[in-house]
């Protein structure tokens, strides 16, 4: 279990212009989870993930790994602790002058694993990530997706219980992203590795995460199960990220708009058709989006109601009695 308690990070504290990167961050990441941390660039998410393995030293607060406070460790103990936390990066950060196999061997060399065991372990991992034939290739000869697979194999070499992914798929194309996400999910399930995923892409959270924390302006704006946060984002930032601002309906408006939320129970009902038939009133669909979250359909739809206030009331009353969640679109 990873627990962050009242974590804050300030760059250049005490100087004329201190930069607050993180403020009062408290999070609990339970074993076995794939925990997503999403935010816009500059929100502080990269700093946050680096505070977990203390690549960035928090200004205050504590980082508990299975109850042990990493901020209180001696430098030597910290080096050992880091070997139980794997990490992968957006630009892979492989050793360019080493072959694929020797890249995976690197953390084992650092851990003084006997050579034969190390090579055996490295080959197993390359098999796991599907790159056995590439063990003698150099990183420059690999595609982005292959490089990330090598990085994953390398991160897992010392059998860590945690894996931190810092924008691990941001440099990859959609197909490759999907295959890397599948691999991460497989690792989570088969090796029981707890994964922390940092991303600015909603689809990454959507596809693999069980829990999500939304970070905005150095603070946690919202946290919870992915399905809950997706269906009913509470914070402004979560709404923007999930409902994708650029796809919000345009500004040209006449009537009142409402957002109908499908919470997994009603999404297969032809709600709009029923509504139109029952109320005998036309509605204009401005935006619709449904997605599969953990096997259940979630979604939302923005409709514009007719200008007639009585018809509007009729529609909202029908939604209420039909048990369909909706909110006013500001």
């Amino acid at each position: 279990m990873i627990e962050l308690k009242q974590l804050s990070k300030v760059y250049n504290p005490g100087s004329a212009n201190p930069v607050v990167a993180l403020q009062d961050i408290s999070l609990t990441i339970a074993d076995g989870e794939i925990f997503g941390i999403i935010g816009l660039s500059g929100a502080g998410k990269s700093t946050l993930v680096r505070c977990i393995n203390l690549l960035e030293k928090p200004t205050s607060g504590s980082v508990l790994l299975d109850g042990r406070d990493l901020t209180k460790l001696t430098p030597k103990e910290l080096l050992l602790a880091r070997r139980s936390i794997g990490m992968i990066f957006q630009d892979f950060n492989l050793l360019e002058q080493r072959t694929v196999l020797r890249n995976v061997l690197y953390p084992l060399e650092i851990a003084h694993t006997p050579r034969q065991d190390a090579v055996k372990r490295a080959r197993e991992l390359l098999q796991l990530v599907g790159l056995s034939e590439k063990e003698n290739a150099y990183p420059s000869q690999l595609s982005g997706g292959q490089k990330q697979r090598v990085a994953i194999a390398r991160a897992l070499a010392t059998k860590p219980r945690y894996l931190l992914c810092d924008e691990a798929t941001s440099a990859l194309d959609p197909n490759t992203t999907q295959s890397i996400l599948d691999l991460l999910q497989q690792i989570n399930r088969t090796l029981q590795v707890t994964i922390v995923v940092i991303t600015h892409e909603m689809k990454v959270i959507d596809r693999i995460c069980t829990k999500v924390a939304v970070i905005d302006q150095s603070r946690i704006a919202e946290t919870g199960r992915v399905s809950d946060v997706f269906v009913n984002p509470q914070s402004q930032i979560a709404r923007e990220l999930i409902l994708q601002k650029e796809r919000q309906p345009g500004e040209i408006r006449q009537g009142r708009r409402i957002r109908i939320v499908f919470d997994g129970t009603t999404s297969y009902r032809p709600v709009i058709s029923e509504l139109v038939l029952a109320c005998q009133a036309p509605v204009n669909i401005m935006l619709a989006d449904t997605r599969d979250v953990g096997g259940v359909a979630y979604g939302h739809m923005v409709v514009e109601l007719p200008a007639d206030v009585r018809q509007q009331e009729k529609i909202t009353a029908w939604l209420k009695t039909s048990g369909i969640t909706y909110n006013e679109e500001a």
């Binding site: 050992l80 070997r83 360019e96 002058q97």
Partner: protein, 226 residues
Amino acid sequence: MFSDMFQKLWANGVIQLGIWQTVYMTVLSTAVAYVIGLPLGVLLCVTDKGGIHPIGWLNKLVGVIVNIFRSIPFIILMVAMLPVAKLVVGTSLGNSAMIVMLIIAAAPYVARMVESSLKEVKPGVIEAAQAMGTPEFSIIRKVLIPEAKPSLITGSVISMVTILGYSAMAGTIGGTGLGQIAITYGYQRQKTDIIWVCVVLTIVIVQLIQEFGMRIVQKTDKRVSH
């Protein structure tokens, strides 16, 4: 087409010896300059702010010393350092003394070359090594130096060519080699052909160093697919 002087020198093997002395001084000085300059370069890189072990005052101190030596023109440094040479090798004349001078001049240069090569290593790669729990010394040994190897070799070729140039200047104050031949026989006795022969020979040596060095770089650098 060549003067009698040249033919005499060639027949007596003076020019051939000069080639050998130049190569010998250059290679030996470069090697020792690296023994001193490489650790200094590592120190400059590692202790810099943003380095893996920032120590501000040490970085400044070494940086200033390196800069002082680098800013003195070699011909002046040479004369100023004659007592040091005498202290180290017991004489301020001849090749041994010149080699001491060349090392004093080249080591700070090498330190800067090494520093800049090491700083080319992507910070992300170092961060990944830190994330894997690599102790600082192992980062130097297993990440910084191996990853910077092609650039370090390129740097050593450039350093060697610079040192070759210095070695010719050493000919003016008692060194040997092609520089000394060009000055004593070519310049002082006004035999232009000897000057030109020395120039051409130096060019050939530089080309050989460059060509050979770049081949090694190409062989070692794994960043280009082949």
